[in-house]
Amino acid sequence: MKILFYRYGSICEEDVIEAFKEYGIDTNEILEEVYNKHLLPGDCVRILNSALNKENYSFVFSINFFPTVSDVCNIYHIPYLCLIVDSPVLELYSESIRNSYNRIFLFDKALYNEFHPYNPDCIFHIPLATNVRRWNRVIEADTSDRFSSEVSFVGSLYTEKSPLNLDNAPDYIKGYVDGLIEAQLKIYGYYFIDNLLTEELSNEILNQMPGHYVFPDKYRIDNRGLVSQLYIGSKISAEERLRVFHRLSQKYDVDIYTGSDTTSLPKLHNRGLAKTHTEMPLIFNHTKVNLNITSKPIRSGIPLRVFDVLGCSGFLITNYQSELPELFSIGEHLEAYESIEDLDNKIQFYLEHPELRKEIARNGYEYVKSNHTYTVRIGQMISLAFK
């Protein structure tokens, strides 16, 4: 059995290929998108055509959704399986999600509830996963303690990813949005911004921002979702991360592995970007308390970082997300916080209780090793896709 993998450079592509191999599925890869992020749809069609004409594939696969790939697969009557690992993925607003050869897997239930009605037989909800074996290879090969940390976080501060700009907006709107942001910052497990923006207000906000995202032709226009998730959601994430690291860095030794500018947080140790495959597992493994702060556009689901920290036998404290108790046992596999104050208290507690911390990390590792590997997940995806 052979499949065609349309790659764009996501960190989990290698893991998925490894998992396919375990099921005896060979992979041919298309790599153009990895090196050229502005590949024209016409070029994409041409490349796919030539690949699909050359050989017979059981299905085409990608991480995240590519409308052009979906359209081509629909013409060739080849199933197109894809796993969404980010949010927001604006390509999901494309009309192409209605294609009947799609098998779209969404890791976030809020996303699923939103998009499932547009193609009920072809859109599924499935959590993310981790590659325990890969991490173990890296961890066993490097016994140095160059990545040991009291508290660490691998990820962006979101400050550069937050394109919300209300400089030109009327003061009332600025105030209203700031009020919503403050309120949302206090709540974990329920993202309510979508509910509190009207279509009218969303359009007004967009109109104040020159160069804002515009849905292309043949996309379903959802300016409310766009403003709520892409613009305000990212802004809340930036604000949340600044506040979390401001508070934590006063009190603990906190390392952040990031490309973001951290000059406003002088006590935070910025250790630059971490290499995903070679350094990140060592960081997760050698840190006493790993943090996950889910970005707000992920409204209910569990981000990849959670699976990866546990897969590296790391101890994790994550923000509460509504899908968390469905997938993990809080306090047994990982720990969850519901406010910044709560996070601070829990860090202090677990720094003082190393045995408890290690036991939870051990449980978490054993649990993802048997339930949440790519091998398990790919098997579930294939059986859902072809049932």
């Binding site: 105030g175 009020g179 206090k186 509910n195």
Partner: protein, 399 residues
């Protein structure tokens, strides 16, 4: 133990007195309506005279907390037990809360914790109670006869309601809360008007989490007060409590009016309220009802009774909920955390999650008479076994 039971026009006093009698508690009564709960020289004189003339009184008991009684008791070393349904506390002399003779029982757990965290001693949590007999037809007649014998009016209500008028699909008793919110917004600039509207909308959208307390920060209050002080030439500013109360009332008002407005075209709705609202044209607006002689009839003759709590009650079970169930009424209510400690949703009462959910549940239960009756009966049984005055009074008096 000999108790002086301070009475005013409060709820629950009748039930408490019945329990005192059943439990053979020695007590006498003192009735007074404060002109001002914080300052009332006439009261202080009368109350001191009373205590002077009855030297065997060793406990004073009241519904809600009176700073004046507390101060008098403290000077005399008499224990002062108060059972409080006032949320938030409408007293300004909060220093009296520190008096060591106080034994305060709040019906809302979070409110009790709030005062405990301030280091105030002898603060406890105690749910309210309701007396099923007082609300029964027999109990109503007893109250009416009692009032007739004392030549009091049967209804403390300008218009009596014909028995037929109580019949309806959905009823709601309560204020529509014309809040000070609009008034408080006027002096603000556009940014802060938007900001308050933002947090207000957020709080209204979230059921089961209370954010206002955390969101009204000192910095925000300072900013807002700079506008009020400027507009009033230095004479007006708000406290956090005042602003929080205004916002909570505004949210409650919007929720109540929205719910009633959406229900009015779908079924027959009776509203019993001192407030009128021009948006509720299809609702039967019947004015006040008398607590003892009319309210239980409202509950029993409405297919569905609605409770929409004042937003500031963070966790506790409001008296309205207990009274509806104790009268044998079927209840649909908003979520309050403490409800789940005693009641099973769907078995004893119904909890709605948001307004669309409320509309669906009203429609469902109007169409299912048997289910409704069973649930009302279960709710009644729970209240009579878990929220009766005898048990609560025993706990309040530690007997």
């Amino acid at each position: 133990m000999h108790i002086l039971f301070f009475q005013w026009n409060a709820f629950m006093q009748k039930g408490i007195e019945t329990a005192f009698n059943r439990l053979n508690i020695s007590y006498e009564k003192f009735f007074y309506i404060f002109s001002d709960w914080d300052y009332d020289d006439k009261f202080c004189k009368l109350f001191n005279d009373k205590l002077n003339s009855s030297p065997d009184i060793d406990v004073v008991f009241s519904v809600n907390f009176s700073p004046l009684i507390s101060d008098i008791c403290n000077a005399r070393g008499i224990i002062y037990i108060s059972w409080i349904y006032d949320a938030p506390l409408h007293i300004r002399k909060t220093v009296s809360l520190m008096n060591s003779v106080n034994r305060m029982y709040f019906f809302d757990r979070i409110q009790a914790e709030h005062y405990q965290k301030q280091g105030i001693l002898n603060v406890h949590h105690m749910p309210l109670a309701s007396d099923t007999y007082i609300f029964s037809d027999e109990g109503i007649n007893e109250t009416i006869n009692n009032r007739l014998s004392k030549k009091e009016p049967v209804f403390f209500n300008p218009t009596s309601i014909a028995d037929n008028d109580y019949h309806c699909d959905v009823s709601f008793i309560g204020k529509l809360y014309k809040s000070d919110y609009a008034y408080l917004c006027t002096p603000l600039n556009q940014y802060y008007r938007g900001y308050l509207e933002g947090i207000l909308n957020a709080q209204q959208n979230i059921y089961g989490a209370y954010l206002l307390d955390e969101l009204l920060t000192d910095t925000l209050l300072e900013e807002l007060n700079s506008f009020y002080l400027k507009a009033s030439k230095g004479t007006f500013s708000v406290t956090k409590e005042e602003l929080e109360f205004a916002l909570a009332c505004e949210i409650t008002s919007r929720e109540r009016v929205t719910a009633l407005a959406l229900l009015q075209n779908r079924c027959h709705v009776n509203l019993y309220s001192g407030d009128k609202d021009e948006r509720l044209t299809h609702i039967n607006q019947l004015g006040y009802v008398d607590y003892y002689t009319q309210m239980p009839k409202v509950f029993r003759n409405s297919k569905i009774n609605l409770n929409i709590s004042l937003k500031i009650i963070q966790s506790g079970i409001p008296l309205r909920i207990l009274d509806i169930l104790a009268s044998g009424g079927f209840l649909i209510t908003n979520y309050q955390p403490e409800l789940l400690e005693y009641f099973e949703p769907g078995i004893d009462l119904i909890i709605y999650e948001d307004i669309p959910d409320l509309i669906l549940k009203v429609q469902y239960y109007l169409a299912n008479d048997d289910e409704r009756n069973i649930i009302a009966q279960n709710g009644y049984n729970k209240v009579s076994s878990l929220f009766n005055f005898d048990d609560k009074v025993r706990q309040l008096l530690s007997i």
